[in-house]
């Protein structure tokens, strides 16, 4: 995707500075309404959800004590997968955002909550709440764009190693909790800057490794060991491994749909200097995409199906996003902006399409048809094996050809 500032067809060109400030005020009003009406019903929602999730997890793990029996394995693994998804997304992500801090319950608070995942809550809160939500979709600042392992913009020069990015993305998705842990540690950047011995990094690394050890011991040692009486050590281990993979794949998919589908805007670093509140709101609106679906989809996705509403109001209770969505959409319409919402398969396909498209040289995927496939493949081979000079030459050739076509 091209950043909004480099687009020839700028989707916010029609908005004046005053328009944007007015938009900010209207969004503030929606936020104030929700805060004024927060109360016992909302508290009951999260408490019931936590009770249900813990009961489901407990029940599933008990069933898995006899996981050597296939029906028990299936039921237990399915239950545990759902329990882990709920714990991670609708509960964990939202509690850690401070959405429930208003209840003043020390057990359901962003400062005390720890979640069933490899990355410690504090580290995740830094990279997510502080960085991702402040610098949403700003190229070079929001590392959620590609997690540092993918090419996410046409402006980034293509290199043959990006051909592997669909595979890296899939592997990252399967083991997402470890990918996130490495990401929150800023492992890649630290290695590049050769700062591995830095005491601060070492301290955080120790914290992450401790968390991983405890998590792995729980799922791959303790619970399988508890199933030894029924001869279920290995089946339980496999069941827990599967449940973690399911949770990883699901959460990765939902998250990809949040900012990656085609049509979601990205922004230049310089463009956010001196950003006003209204402009921050606008960037959140254009940099996010929703998933349309049933109530079940909303809960299963941790209400990240309302990614737009979540990015506008990250600290409002997630159960209120659905209620707020029509008012937000009305503002999109009023200010002539596109509200990106589509069903899950469509959004996921779109996000993966982008991953594949950008794994290839600019324009390659769009140009390639059945008829010219052989020559396209030859071109790709040349660009992959030829080295930087060859690539530059081919790109320049394409530019000239495009220029001639336009002139014609």
């Amino acid at each position: 995707m091209t950043t909004i500032q480099k687009k020839t067809d700028n989707p916010i060109a029609h908005l004046s500075a005053e328009d944007i400030e007015q938009l900010g005020r209207e969004l503030d009003a929606i936020r104030a309404d929700v805060i004024a009406s927060r109360g016992a019903d909302d508290a009951a929602y999260i408490r019931t959800l936590i009770k249900t999730q813990r009961s489901l997890e407990l029940g599933s793990r008990i069933v898995l004590l006899a996981s050597v029996f296939p029906p028990a394995w299936l039921v237990g693994t399915a239950g545990l997968s759902v329990a882990k998804i709920l714990e991670n997304m609708e509960i964990g992500h939202n509690v850690l955002h401070g959405q429930w801090d208003w209840m003043r319950d020390p057990k359901i608070h962003s400062t005390t909550w720890e979640w069933d995942m490899a990355t410690p809550a504090k580290d995740w809160q830094h990279s997510h709440n502080e960085l991702h939500h402040t610098y949403t979709n700003v190229l070079g600042k929001d590392n959620d764009l590609g997690y540092g392992i993918m090419r996410v913009d046409e402006g980034q020069p293509w290199h043959p190693m990006f051909l592997g990015q669909p595979l890296w993305n899939f592997i990252n998705a399967c083991f997402f909790e470890y990918g996130i842990a490495a990401y929150d540690l800023e492992l890649g950047a630290t290695i590049k800057k050769k700062k591995l011995k830095d005491p601060e990094f070492q301290r955080r690394l120790k914290g992450v490794l401790t968390k991983i050890r405890k998590q792995a011991t729980k799922d791959y040692v303790v619970h399988p060991a508890l199933s030894i009486p029924t001869g279920s050590f290995l089946p339980t281990l496999v069941a827990n491994f599967t449940a973690n993979i399911v949770r990883n794949l699901w959460s990765n998919s939902i998250i990809m749909c949040g900012h990656f589908p085609e049509g979601v805007e990205t922004f230049e670093k310089r463009s956010i200097e001196g950003e006003t509140r209204g402009e921050w709101y606008l960037r959140q609106m254009l940099g996010s995409a929703n998933i349309s679906g049933s109530k079940a989809m909303h809960i299963a996705s941790g209400n990240l199906s309302h990614q737009i509403e979540h990015h506008l109001f990250p600290d409002l209770p997630s159960n209120r996003y659905a209620e707020v969505a029509p008012k937000v959409k009305a503002l999109f319409d009023k200010y002539g902006l596109t509200y990106h919402a589509a069903p899950f398969p469509k959004q996921l396909y779109s996000a993966w399409h982008k991953v594949v498209r950008l794994s290839l040289p600019n324009g390659w995927l769009a140009e390639t048809k059945v008829t010219n496939a052989p020559s396209q493949l030859v071109k790709l081979y040349k660009m992959t094996t030829g080295g930087p000079k060859v690539r530059r030459a081919i790109v320049a050739m394409d530019k000239r050809a495009a220029g001639e076509r336009r002139a014609a």
């Binding site: 009770k51 401070g98 508890l226 600290d315």
Partner: protein, 388 residues
């Protein structure tokens, strides 16, 4: 007759034992470790709470079993405390945490029964006109509601050999005293009993209330008076006028022989303290509402741990005020989104610069650890103290 010890329940607290502090390597300890390893990052308690939140070893909680109206704006709540309730001495109070409109609030209430045979405890709440918690407790609480508790505490208790007593109670200040009196003189279907252990007591109760129907425990006090357990001197503001401490001597002729216990509003207690000081008489008091937070614009911001004090304006975020004074303040997005700047407010009020909403912390009412607030979007609204 020698010293009399008033009946007390077992006050040995049974706290939860941390991992490894039992003989390490013991079977119990090993099992506890396995349980923790199986539930991490939660603790076994988080699952056990699904089944029995009142069990031994759990955080102290209670379940409201009965709500008994006393007057039109006061009610007694009978609570079944968790298994670790360590008992109480009559006159003590208990801090109760209750969720009102989704928010956890803490208030302190005197225990209005001596230790009961059924193990339940009771508090009597008077609904304050613009209160948050008391109207909820009196009018909207249902039996079955779970509340959070702390162990009983307070020094407003009788000495072992109390001698002649004067209780001065005003309004809801009667609650600790009724707890003491019910323990000394149990109430039965046949009326108030004066048991052997309480025969030698000489008690005068001077009870002040706005009017007779509004007097909580009026009937209990009258029954105690009728049984000769106490001498009741009732003063109603609408009949006798507001009580003047100077009249004490005429209302209670042998005042000089009595130890006074007083519980009521600050004004009455201050006047009594002055009077008894001058007369050289013994006085024990209990005051319910110590601090009232009055919100303003800006104020003195105190950082309790570093000792830094700084004056901040009403539109300066606490984060900037603290940083300007050299305090190491946690921060994140600096725009209210990420909750990376949250710090406990121990006392005082802050105002949300985006919405104007006030957050107040009153020691004794709000969480003793402080109310967590974001410093990047809140400014001082009067004097405030942070735990930083």
């Amino acid at each position: 007759m020698g010293t009399q010890t008033w009946p007390m329940t077992d006050t040995i607290a049974r706290p939860t034992v941390p991992l490894g502090s039992r003989s390490p390597g013991s079977v119990r300890d090993r099992l506890a470790r396995i349980a923790h390893a199986a539930t991490t990052p939660l603790v076994p308690d988080d699952y056990l709470d699904l089944f029995n939140p009142l069990r031994r070893g759990a955080a102290l909680r209670g379940r409201i079993v009965e709500v008994v109206p006393e007057t039109r704006d006061a009610a007694t709540l009978v609570i079944r405390p968790g298994a670790d309730w360590a008992g109480h001495v009559p006159g003590q109070y208990v801090r109760v945490g209750i969720d009102v409109d989704g928010v956890r609030q803490w208030r302190a209430y005197s225990l209005t029964h001596g230790p009961r045979r059924d193990g339940h405890i009771s508090i009597t709440v008077k609904a304050v006109a613009d209160g948050t918690v008391s109207p909820y407790l009196v009018h909207r609480t249902r039996p079955g509601t779970l509340v959070h508790l702390e162990q009983a505490t307070g020094d407003f208790v009788l000495a072992d050999d109390p001698g002649k007593l004067l209780f001065v109670t005003a309004g809801s200040g009667v609650t600790p005293v009724i707890g003491m009196l019910r323990n000394l003189f149990p109430s039965t279907d046949e009326g108030v009993l004066v048991p052997e252990r309480s025969r030698d007591l000489d008690i005068v109760v001077l009870h002040v209330a706005p009017s007779e129907p509004d007097s909580i425990f009026r009937r209990d006090l009258q029954a105690l008076d009728a049984a000769g357990a106490v001498r009741l001197v009732a003063r109603y503001d609408d009949v006798h006028g507001v009580l003047d401490v100077a009249d004490l001597a005429s209302l209670v002729p042998d005042l000089a022989e009595r130890t006074t216990y007083a519980c009521g509003p600050g004004g009455l207690l201050d006047a009594l303290e002055q009077h008894h000081d001058e007369a050289g008489l013994p006085l024990s008091t209990e005051q319910f509402r110590a601090a009232v937070v009055v919100a303003g614009e800006g104020g003195t911001v105190t950082f309790g741990r570093t000792g830094t004090v700084v004056e901040a304006g009403g539109s300066t975020p606490v984060l900037e005020a603290g940083e300007g004074a050299g305090v190491l303040m946690p921060s994140g997005c600096r725009m209210g989104v990420c909750y990376g700047c949250v710090v406990p407010l121990k006392e005082g009020a802050v105002r949300d610069l985006r919405s104007g909403d006030l957050t107040t912390a009153v020691p004794g009412e709000t969480d003793p650890a402080g109310v967590l607030v974001q410093t990047c979007i809140n400014a001082a609204a009067g004097p405030c103290t942070f735990d930083l």
